[in-house]
Structure formats: structure tokens, C-alpha cells
């Protein structure tokens, strides 16, 4: 099941997302939570210590030029590997992916 939660800022989206994620996880289901909000607060709402949470590094994508000369960003790491390497451990076994920004500081 893949669920997206949206809504006007301040309405409670992040609290609801975090709580649902942990409730599903408590039922024994592996849960992947993705923070797609440019103001990333899901980690705090999940109950994580939010100091030094590493963002996904820039190195997962590379620029490729296709046949028409257009430059695009493409993944050079599989989604499964991204989850494995950059997923953060949240309470109740939830895996959190910080999806709203990619770290420009360099390869991780």
C-alpha cells in the first residue's frame, strides 16, 4: 500500500503521517516513510533525535545527455540501494528517507 498525505501547511499533515507510519509498523509491517516536504519535520514527529541527520548525497544522481542533446538527471544507484544506504532508522522500525533535498556537500 502506498499512501501520500498532503494538505495545507499547519493542518497536521506531519503529525498524522508520522503517527500512521508508526502505527502501521507496530502491526508488524515494514514501513518506509518519505519526507517530501521542503521543510522537513517528519523526523521530529516520528520521535527521532534530529541532530545530524544525513541527507541523501548528490552522488546518487548524475547528469546524462540523451540522444537529443538534452541533459537530464538520472539515478546511478538503485532505489533499493538508496533505501538501504540512506534510509534512517526511526522508532518502531520505520525507515525514513529524507526526500526533499539532496545534499550538495559531496559524495556520502
Amino acid at each position: 500500500m502506498k499512501i501520500a498525505i498532503s494538505g495545507k501547511g499547519g493542518a497536521g499533515k506531519t503529525t498524522i503521517s508520522a503517527t500512521l507510519a508508526r502505527l502501521f509498523a507496530r502491526q508488524g509491517v515494514p514501513v518506509l516513510a518519505i519526507d517530501g516536504d521542503p521543510n522537513p519535520n517528519l523526523s521530529r514527529a516520528l520521535g527521532m533525535d534530529t541532530d545530524n541527520l544525513a541527507a541523501i548525497p548528490r552522488s546518487i544522481v548524475e547528469r546524462r545527455t540523451d540522444e537529443s542533446g538534452a541533459v537530464k538527471l538520472a539515478l546511478n544507484t538503485s532505489p533499493a540501494d538508496i533505501i538501504r544506504q540512506y534510509g534512517l532508522q526511526a522508532p518502531d522500525g520505520v525507515t525514513l528517507l529524507l526526500g526533499s533535498r539532496v545534499d550538495h556537500a559531496g559524495a556520502g
Binding site: 502506498k2 514501513v31 518506509l32 516536504d37 520521535g47 532505489p79
Partner: protein, 140 residues
């Protein structure tokens, strides 16, 4: 980045839950093409309801078939009525009405998850029911 997130959602074999940007202009086919259910959080105030009203046709256009409103911070029967009436007029099913819950603010002030702060809080109880409902729907 958004279509990369879309790929990750697609490939994920886990139950995947995405907290999305509140700005609907950024919702694109890339991020949501693999989403089964969209929950739009609304409050009983016009601006929150209107945001939901705008998200729904966009989400439908992007191919999400199951869209629900989840109402939050409900303090009265009037609040419930306001949400229900708006949602009915916009063909939006309300999956749950979450009460205004002081514990949520207190947890936030304490920097804690509501589940850790007070697992018997009314919002947690309602969300437990929502999680059960969603699981039952998925199993059906």
C-alpha cells in the same frame, strides 16, 4: 528529485507513506504515479478546505484513484458539519474526523512524537482506527 522519489516509491516493497509538500503546484506525475491512496488533511476553516478542493481534481488527473479527506482539529459539531458539507460538495470522502487534541501541542512543545508523549490521546486512538481501516481496505 521528485521523479527520483517516484522511482523509490515504485520500487519500494514496504508499506510506503509519503509526507508531501503542501504546495499542490509541486505535485507531479513523477512523484505520485505509484500512489494508491491520497489523504488530504483538512481543518474546519475555509482556507484548508479550499486547498483540499484544489488538490482533488489535480490528484485525479495524476491518476490517484482513492482520495480521502482526513479532518483534523475538530472542536464541535459545527466543525464536523462544515467539513462534511464542503467535502460532500466536492465529492470527497472523509475517512476520519480527528478531534482537537491538546496532547498534540504538548508533544510538539516537548519535541516528542505524540505516540511517545501520550499513546492514549484521542488523536492516537482515531489514527489507530484509520490505520486499521486502510489495512482492511488493502486486504479486501
Amino acid at each position: 528529485m521528485r521523479s527520483i522519489i517516484g522511482e523509490i516509491v515504485n520500487e519500494s516493497t514496504d508499506l510506503t507513506l509519503m509526507d508531501m509538500e503542501a504546495s499542490i503546484e509541486h505535485m507531479s506525475r513523477g512523484t505520485v504515479r505509484h500512489i494508491d491512496k491520497l489523504l488530504v488533511v483538512v481543518e474546519p476553516y475555509y482556507r484548508a478546505l479550499e486547498t483540499a478542493g484544489r488538490i482533488v481534481p489535480l490528484a485525479q488527473e495524476l491518476g490517484i484513484n482513492e482520495i480521502y479527506a482526513i479532518a483534523n482539529k475538530i472542536r464541535s459539531a459545527d466543525d464536523e458539519q462544515a467539513v462534511q458539507s464542503y467535502c460532500s460538495n466536492h465529492h470527497l470522502n472523509v475517512i476520519a474526523m480527528l478531534p482537537f487534541d491538546e496532547n498534540v501541542l504538548a508533544a510538539d512543545r516537548a519535541g516528542q512524537a505524540i505516540l511517545d508523549y501520550n499513546r492514549t490521546s484521542p488523536v492516537v486512538a482515531k489514527l489507530t482506527a484509520v490505520a486499521d481501516l486502510l489495512q482492511r481496505q488493502a486486504a479486501a
